[in-house]
């Protein structure tokens, strides 16, 4: 079909004007993703720094991010918690924020990075229809949190190669994995933005002598590594002890050894290239699965999906899935309990002392919700 006009130049100018208006409107929406959710540190936070303090080349880039330090009254050892490695896995970020706003260290030092891949919080994954934010009710009012992408924003690191070759191992993965923070460890000081972020995290661990590093993740219900702790071989005894205590609290969780031939992940590379006990935790997040229905804020927060209920009936999932789904409250409760049990196991095994106080228990978070333990938003 053709629609010829004598005034085709006027049409062209008019359409260019419409294009300009569309670009402005869309740009406003995309740029709004660069606003980070406010975090209100609790009294346990003794210092706030930037990741670039440990690797100055990151300063001023989209990869720089806040590091919250909670130093205990008594001396002890140190633990690093990474949330937001994958910003489409919100239980990690929310658990880290819960630590920042509640935890008090009786002994030792806790380092918390709620937005490990800061760049990946500034976009969503293409063609996923994901929400740009989600909200949680707190006693002091509603608070919003960013829902981002699995990988570094392509605006900050572009173009992707056809094949991503992991620098220290030579492992070959698909090109888009070049922007996946959890395929880039131990990082390179002169590498891509993603590699520089992971290098900065490794530098923090080396400089501060971090004893335990816990990387918080989520996985699709149809993914086999789920409701699990993945542990570097050096941390196996610690993980086993912590896992037993988690199971005694009623959590169904399994332990998996970090595969030696899967490179770029925290539980492999941070264990190999630093002296930290490196572990990773996974919960069940239906909002990132392939079988999900409508992807909206409700799915992120409530974790209910009728298609996953049906998939569970067919026996296609690696976690139970009924009408109650897997709400964010449950997933955060699992992560927080895991963190506390790792600290406890470290002390129980006589490896040192890390004592985290003032955190809600598994049942507290499940029964009262995450919002009950978040500080009131500033007016």
């Amino acid at each position: 079909m053709q629609l010829h006009s004598k005034h085709h130049r006027i049409w062209a100018v008019a359409l260019l004007a419409v294009t300009a208006v569309l670009c402005v409107l869309l740009a406003q929406q995309f740029l709004s993703m660069h606003e980070a959710e406010p975090i209100y540190p609790g009294p346990g936070v003794t210092e706030e720094r930037l990741l670039s303090d440990w690797f100055p080349a990151l300063k001023g880039t989209a990869g720089d991010t806040d590091v919250y330090i909670l130093k205990g009254e008594e001396p002890g050892d140190s633990m690093l918690v990474l949330g937001g490695t994958h910003p489409n896995e919100p239980a990690g970020q929310m658990s880290a924020i819960l630590l920042v706003e509640n935890a008090r260290m009786a002994a030792g030092t806790l380092y918390v990075i709620p937005r490990a891949n800061h760049s990946a919080f500034t976009c969503t994954d293409p063609q996923e229809g994901a929400p740009m934010r989600f909200t949680i009710d707190t006693p002091g009012g509603e608070r919003w949190f960013r829902f981002g992408s699995r990988a570094t924003n392509p605006v900050h690191q572009w173009p992707d190669p056809e094949i991503y070759v992991h620098a220290s191992s030579g492992q070959r993965l698909s090109g888009s994995e070049t922007r996946n923070l959890n395929r880039s460890y131990p990082g390179r000081p002169d590498g891509t933005l993603t590699e520089r972020i992971s290098y900065a995290v490794a530098e923090l661990i080396r400089a501060e002598g971090i004893d335990i590093t816990i990387d918080l993740h989520e996985a699709s219900p149809e993914y086999p590594t789920i409701n699990a702790v993945v542990s570097h071989e050096d941390a196996m005894e610690l993980s086993s002890w912590a896992l037993l205590n988690m199971q005694m609290e009623g959590m169904d969780i399994m332990l998996e050894p970090s595969p030696k031939n899967l490179h770029g992940l925290t539980h492999r590379e941070l264990g190999d290239f630093t002296d930290t006990y490196a572990v990773l935790m996974e919960t069940a997040n239906p909002s990132q699965g392939r079988l999900r229905g409508k992807t909206d804020e409700a799915l992120v927060v409530e974790g209910k999906d009728k298609f996953y209920v049906r998939a569970a009936q067919y026996g296609r999932l690696y976690v139970p899935f009924d009408e109650d789904g897997h709400p964010l409250n449950e997933r955060v409760a699992r992560h927080v309990t895991g963190i506390l049990q790792f600290a406890q196991a470290y002390t129980d095994l006589g490896l040192g002392t890390v004592t985290v106080d003032n955190m809600p228990s598994f049942t507290d978070i499940q029964d009262n919700g995450v919002g009950a333990y978040l500080n009131a938003p500033a007016i």
């Binding site: 053709q2 010829h4 006009s5 085709h8 130049r9 062209a12 359409l15 260019l16 294009t19 173009p159």
Partner: protein
């Protein structure tokens, strides 16, 4: 590498606008306008 890609995107935008002004079929002009949106957002490193 990034700057080479951005130059390519800029050239593509110029080419599309140029053809849009010469094109007599309004529907093709509308198509061109739609194609311009993601290219402009990428050139400005917004999306």
């Amino acid at each position: 590498m990034l700057y080479i890609y951005l130059v390519l995107v800029a050239l593509l935008i110029i080419n599309i606008v140029w053809n849009m002004l010469r094109e007599k079929d309004v529907l093709v002009q509308v198509d061109a306008a739609l194609v311009l949106v993601p290219l402009i957002l990428r050139l400005l490193l917004i999306k």
